[in-house]
């Protein structure tokens, strides 16, 4: 078995880019990733990729090159990027291929996502009566979480404030204006206790990564980042997930907890060794809950960590250093790979104004989404 390295990274700026299709953004990201490691698309032995609403990734070959490579579409909701990466990891680790590319991209219309219940195996009544609304679920989930762990809701505004502060330092972010916690807390209530500025918005963007066998990495780059562990999990009976007309009274660990534990175990690295983390912040409450579910801290410990600045770029446990989903928006197919892109930048020491000080060595990423899935990675330089 070979180890796996990320040798090339490329991104199309997140946010809104009028007149540029999601596919064109994906092609841009792919060319940037190839240029980053000095390879051509004809060197790629495989491709995995996907988008939620911007087209099939395998059709990108008409622009990138008709080389005959196996290019497999991944359609896995919020875990599309993470799933593509895990597939690439397996393709290289198994010895099947030496080098390949993963691409995640998207372009969504404005406003909250609307979803057809039938796609989730739920009756039409669920959508008709106004229960199939993701923003609403997140309000319900964080409300319960705050209650169970005795956390005051004020921390939710502090989390969003940090996201916009980090976004202001990241030239690739969408929202680059700082907003203070008081203004965030006073914004229109979307789903109690979450206000407008505590939610990310559907957006656009693309990320591509070139991966290869670890033992060949230095042929392509001076600063490889190694994918030490990658894991994907779906929900168990008793976990509380989006688009659930009901949940079991007996509680179980979330898919996040299981995916994170599996990724750390595969890497042989403990959560306490993480120097920089990108975790799913669909809204402020998600960052709060996921900090503990991933094992980066204990449940209930977040409030003090956040208030004390430990999760800031200069803190002990920097979280969402690029501004996360809150400052970058959520192009579903691209978000998971954005996190990996950011960690590679951080581990290379190339993040510029939003660089974590002290030469970070271990990076962690986490995505979460409907209908109760999570994908995590552990990266080292």
């Amino acid at each position: 078995m070979s180890g796996v390295a990320i040798v090339g990274i490329g991104m199309h700026r997140f946010g809104r880019t009028e007149g540029v299709s999601g596919r064109a953004q994906a092609v841009h990201a792919a060319r940037e990733a190839l240029r980053d490691c000095g390879l051509r698309f004809s060197d790629m032995q495989f491709g995995f990729g996907g988008s939620h609403s911007a087209g099939d990734a395998d059709t990108l070959v008409s622009e990138l090159g008709l080389t005959g490579l196996p290019f497999i579409n991944v359609a896995n909701g919020c875990a599309t990027g993470g799933s593509a990466l895990i597939a690439a990891d397996a393709a290289i680790r198994s010895g099947q291929h030496d080098v390949g590319i993963v691409i995640g991209f998207d372009k969504h219309p404005r406003g909250a996502f609307n979803t057809d219940p039938a796609e989730h195996g739920i009756g039409a009544w669920y959508g008709e009566t106004g229960l199939m609304v993701t923003t609403q679920f997140f309000g319900l989930k964080i409300q319960r979480y705050l209650h169970e762990h005795g956390i005051a809701p004020g921390v939710l505004a502090t989390i969003a404030e940090k996201a916009f502060r980090n976004g202001a330092r990241n030239p690739m972010a969408w929202r680059r204006k700082e907003i203070d916690a008081a203004e965030i807390a006073a914004a229109p209530m979307i789903s109690h206790p979450l206000t407008q500025y505590m939610y990310c918005s559907p957006a656009e963007g693309a990320v591509a990564l070139v991966l290869c066998r670890a033992d060949k990495a230095r042929e392509y780059t001076e600063h490889p980042v190694f994918l030490q562990g990658a894991a994907f999990r779906s929900r168990r009976y008793g976990s509380f997930e989006v688009f659930s007309p009901w949940t079991a009274a007996e509680r179980a660990d979330s898919p996040t907890a299981e995916a994170a534990a599996a990724a750390f175990a595969a890497a042989g690295i403990a959560p306490s060794e993480v120097d920089v983390a990108q975790i799913q912040d669909t809204e402020s409450g998600a960052e709060l809950m996921h900090m503990a579910e991933t094992g980066l801290c204990a449940h209930g410990e977040q409030e003090e960590l956040i208030a004390s600045g430990a999760t800031a770029i200069e803190g002990r446990l920097p979280v969402n250093t690029d501004g996360g989903c809150l400052a970058n928006g959520e192009p579903i197919g691209a978000s998971g790979l954005r996190q990996v892109h950011e960690n590679v930048l951080q581990l290379r020491g190339g993040a510029g104004e939003h660089q974590v000080p002290g030469d970070p060595r271990v990076g962690f990423t986490h995505v979460y989404g409907a209908p109760g899935i999570s994908a995590c990675t552990v990266l080292t330089r």
Binding site: N114, W125, E128, G130, L131, M132, G139, R144, M189, T247
Partner: protein, 140 residues
């Protein structure tokens, strides 16, 4: 029609001596419950499910208030907005997602006793109300 009222989907309900109840499934192997009815057990992976009326009373497990008008497939009409949403724990069965009649955050509290009602959420083309299930605080 359930209890003389037009509903969004009659298959969600069953009439009982105490009034309309939600109709769920119960696994005859491991006693797990689901709502709505389904053929497979998500707990033990078996497929021996039987119909069961769910409790008409429970406790509020979490809550929020829907702060904007959802896009389609939502079909509710404005005269029934805003609306509360919660999860209600039905003792010994499951935790069900539901609309809440109460929309004032100050009057909603995790742990409060609630009971099932049929509540209108839209008017049909002739102006008649269409109902869905909702929970409301139990009045002493």
């Amino acid at each position: 029609m359930i209890a003389g009222k037009t509903t969004v989907d009659d298959a969600l309900f069953v009439e009982t001596a105490e009034g309309p109840a939600l109709l769920g499934s119960r696994c005859t192997d491991c006693a797990a419950h689901t709502f709505p009815r389904q053929g497979g057990c998500p707990r033990c992976t078996g497929s021996a499910m039987e119909d069961v009326p769910l409790s008409r009373t429970g406790t509020l497990w979490s809550w929020t208030v829907q702060g904007f008008r959802p896009k389609p497939p939502y079909t509710g009409t404005e005269n029934y907005e805003p609306y509360g949403v919660g999860y209600v724990e039905l003792p010994g069965q499951l935790i069900v997602e539901t609309r809440l009649v109460e929309t004032d955050p100050a009057k909603l509290e995790i742990g409060m006793a609630v009971e099932l009602v049929l509540a209108p959420f839209r008017d049909d083309e002739f102006g008649w109300p269409v109902h869905t299930f909702a929970f409301v605080a139990v009045t002493a």
